[in-house]
């Protein structure tokens, strides 16, 4: 029996080792995140069958809940932790060749801390612990955004820091409020007693927590840091931020709203909020000329879509939402990775500077194309079954309102397709002036991209590979009684 | 009997067509206070042209003229000329509508190879004019076909023989009037003589024709005249029970057409199309609406 605690402990320990290794060899330091992610991936996948049967509840320090700090490893947690590990692994492989200059050792340390923070958020069963891991995640990402050290990066980082800090403060106030109300920090314990107190303070706490987490989750009015941060960070970090960090934030929001507060009455509001985020994200991306900003806005849109799907709160839609999370992680991370080297070669972030990339970097461009197809939701790639599930579940609801809303979602997809395919045309079909030599990304980077491509295609063709996990994850999120029962015993 | 008509009707069309050509020249001369040529002048002309050594611009140049004349003869085979049409069961009026365009098309292809812009301009005018008169013409034909519920010319003639002829029955009288209004355009005479305008574009599509080519084109012109008039007689004036009556009816219609020819100056293409799309179209449209709503 492997304990989920290892998922946090081993990477954390290794993260602290990175500086030591870095003293021996700067190059070797880059392999530490690879090892840690690989370990996490193996462990998560080992644990998945187990948690599908019954969630694992691990108590740190041996105290039974609600007194000790609880780790709750349900299907959702395991799935996301596996996803984080996978993305972490691939991106760290990529970083081996991509991150060459600057304080690389510090980069790898921070990067590992980011992964640990993310894993912690998805595994924890304790509100304060959530806050702590969340801070680890956020603070390491503030630093990483500024990694390149140019003016734009630092400015973006500071903006991110200010907003993130504000979010964290609000989150902390909300948690404090909860503690004041219930005298406990254990999620299950709070959840079990949520109905026992006056609704207004609970709502205020919820609002604070949602807004606090929502900053990281890129919900519409709170996401202003995102385009700057994602476009200024190094592409490997953008990939992780877009693929992992904001999804973890969204997960935290959903966990709080679904499980802790059980607030089914606000879900309709979240449906609209998700739709608004989707439309605004896609429309803003449509008007972009900067490729990384475009991808960043597209991430906002995708977050909106996931939130829309999750907030419908039927088994099918939550399955779809989780599926979309997987698909978005794989596709968007792939896109950022591919764009990283394309931008590196062309020396500019303008979309027009990517002309002729299809000839100069054929494999990278191919990977980019697959990522786009998947993100837009074309068969036979992973984005297709996820979008299919969302639309199917929304239409199965038989409500006119949802049918209209799903029409808007599809419209947003069209806009998304339009701007992404414009980039594909630029990459492949625009005739560039000077013929430059063909020079693709380095093999390690290509390998990492093609790992994603393989996952995208395989899951796209055989979505049933992961639907079981997703469905049990959906039921875990939707049935809070089970959650409370399994934690509190 | 039917085999006989296969030979007879093209010959009759040829004779009547050439007669009309001569008659038209004579007719015009009399109206212009002239003596005019003898009635058989077209025959002399054709004989003369036939024995002149002309030039050929290529295989298509020859083939187009032949195709044009042959298709005109085939159209004649669809016409009941006071009897049964030899090709009555091969597509009816719809096939006639299509075959009627093969004549100009053959000339157009043939003239195209000659690389003479006068030819091209003439064809362009011809096609535009055709679009002009086809609007009312199609309305007329559709009104007839809808009214009698058939696409066969023979049956339309037969149905008219049972009751009144179409031009004398209520909703179709509009179609008849419209047909008379577009008849000069279909015959290609003034005021719609823009296609073979001798003075501006050197007789247009025929600009490169000399010798036998011109002879064939002249015959084709005669046949076109014959078809336009006989279509009116068949579709709107109840056809005829024997060729003589048919011929007499055609003569009357012919006289009308050439009276217009003599009395009016020429229009420009746009003016012609504008006219054709105004009054004849309006009247034909009224007829079509009445047929579609009232019916038989």
């Amino acid at each position: 029996m492997v304990s989920p605690v290892l998922l946090l402990a081993v990477p954390l320990g290794l993260a602290l080792c990175v500086p030591l290794v870095g003293r021996v060899s700067r190059r070797a330091a880059g392999f530490v995140p690879v090892i840690a992610s690989l370990f996490n991936l193996v462990v998560s996948i080992r644990l998945l069958p187990t948690v599908l049967e019954e969630p694992i509840v691990a108590n740190l320090g041996g105290f039974p809940p609600p007194f000790g700090i609880t780790l709750f490893a349900g299907p959702v947690g395991m799935l996301l932790s596996a996803l984080i590990a996978l993305a972490g692994l691939v991106v760290s492989l990529y970083a081996l060749s991509y991150i060459k200059t600057g304080p690389t050792v510090r980069y790898h340390t921070l990067y590992m801390l980011l992964l640990v923070g993310a894993t912690g958020v998805v595994l924890t069963g304790d509100v304060f612990n959530l806050f702590v891991f969340f801070e680890i995640l956020c603070i390491s990402s503030y630093a990483l955004v500024a990694y390149v050290g140019d003016r734009a990066g630092i400015e973006a980082s500071v903006k991110y820091l200010i907003q993130g800090a504000l979010g964290s403060a609000l989150l902390l106030i909300g948690i404090g409020l909860l503690y004041g109300l219930f005298g406990t920090l254990n999620m299950a314990d709070i959840a079990a007693r949520i109905d026992s107190v006056d609704s207004v303070p609970v709502f205020v706490a919820m609002a604070l927590i949602v807004v606090g987490l929502g900053v990281e989750a890129a919900i519409f009015p709170l996401n202003a840091w995102l385009p700057d941060a994602h476009s200024s960070a190094p592409s490997s970090i953008s990939a992780i931020l877009s693929g992992i960090a904001i999804q973890v934030g969204l997960y935290a929001v959903v966990r709080m709203v679904f499980t802790v507060f059980g607030a089914s009455s606000v879900l309709l509001f979240f449906v609209f909020l998700g739709l608004l985020t989707l439309l605004i994200g896609e429309l803003c991306a449509f008007a972009q000329n900067n490729i990384k900003r475009m991808l960043a806005y597209s991430s906002i849109g995708q977050m909106g879509l996931i939130m829309f799907a999750l907030a419908i709160a039927t088994t099918g839609s939550v399955t779809g939402g989780l599926f979309q999370m997987v698909s978005h992680t794989l596709s968007k991370a792939l896109l950022f990775l591919a764009v990283g080297y394309m931008v590196y070669r062309s020396g500019s972030l303008e979309i027009s500077s990517l002309e002729g990339m299809g000839r100069r970097m054929p494999l990278t461009s191919f990977a980019f194309t697959i990522g786009v197809f998947s993100l837009v939701g074309l068969p036979p790639f992973i984005g297709f079954p996820s979008k299919l599930l969302i639309v199917r579940s929304a239409l199965a609801e038989q409500g006119v309102l949802l049918q209209v809303l799903i029409g808007l979602v599809l419209l947003a997809t069209v806009i998304e397709g339009a701007y992404f395919f414009r980039v594909i045309q630029t990459v492949y079909f625009k005739k560039e002036e000077g013929q430059e030599a063909r020079q693709d990304a380095p093999p390690m980077a290509l390998l990492s991209m093609f790992v994603f491509v393989a996952f995208i295609v395989v899951i796209g063709v055989y979505p049933n590979l992961i639907t079981d996990v997703l469905e049990s994850g959906a039921s875990e999120l939707l049935e809070r009684a089970n959650y409370i029962g399994s934690v509190l015993g | 009997m039917r085999i006989l008509w296969f030979v007879l009707s093209p010959l009759m069309a040829l004779a009547v067509g050439l007669f009309f050509l001569g008659l038209s020249r004579r007719f015009m001369a009399r109206i212009q206070w002239r003596v005019g040529p003898p009635l058989y002048q077209p025959l002399i002309d054709i004989l003369r042209q036939f024995t002149q050594k002309s030039v050929s611009h290529g295989p298509l140049f020859d083939l187009g003229v032949v195709l044009s004349l042959a298709s005109s003869f085939i159209v004649v085979l669809f016409m009941p000329l006071g009897g049964t049409a030899p090709l009555s069961s091969s597509g009816g009026l719809l096939a006639v509508l299509y075959l009627m365009l093969l004549g100009p098309l053959g000339i157009a292809l043939s003239g195209g190879e000659a690389a003479n812009p006068n030819v091209s301009i003439g064809i362009s005018r011809k096609l535009i004019l055709a679009v002009g008169y086809e609007v009312p013409f199609l309305m007329i034909v559709l009104a007839l076909m809808t009214y009698y519920g058939t696409i066969s010319i023979g049956e339309i003639v037969a149905a008219q023989r049972e009751s009144a002829s179409a031009i004398a029955s209520f909703p179709l009288v509009f179609s008849g009037i419209a047909y008379l209004l577009i008849l000069p355009a279909m015959l290609g005479v003034r005021p719609f003589e823009v296609v073979g305008a001798a003075q501006e574009i050197s007789s247009g599509p025929a600009a490169e024709y000399g010798g036998p080519y011109l002879a064939l084109a002249t015959i084709q012109h005669g046949l076109t005249m014959f078809i336009g008039i006989s279509l009116f007689v068949n579709l709107l004036w109840g056809g005829a029970s024997n060729p003589v009556v048919f011929f007499l009816k055609m003569l009357v219609v012919f006289a009308f057409g050439f009276w217009v020819n003599a009395a009016f100056p020429r229009l420009r293409v746009e003016q012609a199309v504008r006219y054709l799309w105004r009054w004849p179209t309006l009247i034909a449209f009224v007829g079509l609406i009445l047929v579609a709503t009232i019916g038989r």
Binding site: - | R34, V35, A198, A207, G210
Partner: protein, 192 residues
């Protein structure tokens, strides 16, 4: 129609057809063309003799050269003449075509047309009246009857000489010779 006519029609229909269907090319070379409109319209009605103007050289068999011929016009006249299908007849109309007429000493008009293209007949006068055209036509009929209107054959036969004369005045021509000299001679001999 007298019997003589009928016999002619039966014996030589082609020749008769050429006689009675003289289509003149509608080409106004000089001032004499002012006499053509009255000729073909109601006043004199040339159509009763089968004489009608045609639009292009291809359709015609009668070339009426009406008046003075400047050097530039000569080029067009030769071109038009060569494009007419055979058999074809040319009639010089007015004194200018015979000897230059009032332009006999002009720096720019040629004064003897038959040096450049064969002429089947001339109508003298400045201007000849429309009646003169009819006289010319009936005279041409006689010539055709007697196979004496053979300008086109002479042109073929002596093409080299004609071409040389043309090039003396016009310089190098814009189109190649229409007959190979030997071929032309052979055809002429075969046709008699």
């Amino acid at each position: 129609m007298d019997r003589n006519q009928l016999m002619k029609w039966i014996k030589a229909p082609t020749k008769m057809a050429h006689k009675y269907s003289l289509n003149a090319v509608y080409f106004c070379t000089g001032c004499g063309v002012i006499e053509v409109p009255p000729t073909i319209t109601s006043r004199w009605d040339a159509e009763r003799f089968g004489v009608v103007p045609t639009a292009t050289a291809r359709q015609a068999n009668l070339f009426l050269i009406t008046g003075y011929v400047s050097v530039k016009t000569l080029r067009a006249i030769i071109r038009t003449y060569e494009q007419m299908p055979e058999p074809k007849y040319t009639v010089g109309f007015g004194s200018c075509t015979i000897n230059g007429g009032m332009y006999w000493d002009s720096y720019n008009t040629i004064n003897q047309l038959d040096k450049y293209i064969p002429i089947d007949g001339y109508i003298a006068g400045c201007m000849p009246r429309p009646e003169a055209i009819f006289v010319a036509v009936t005279h041409l009929w006689t010539l055709i009857d007697k196979d004496m209107a053979d300008g086109y054959k002479r042109y073929r036969k002596n093409y080299a000489a004609y071409r040389a004369n043309q090039e003396m005045i016009l310089g190098e021509m814009e189109w190649p010779p229409i007959f190979q000299t030997e071929v032309a001679t052979a055809i002429t001999e075969r046709e008699g």
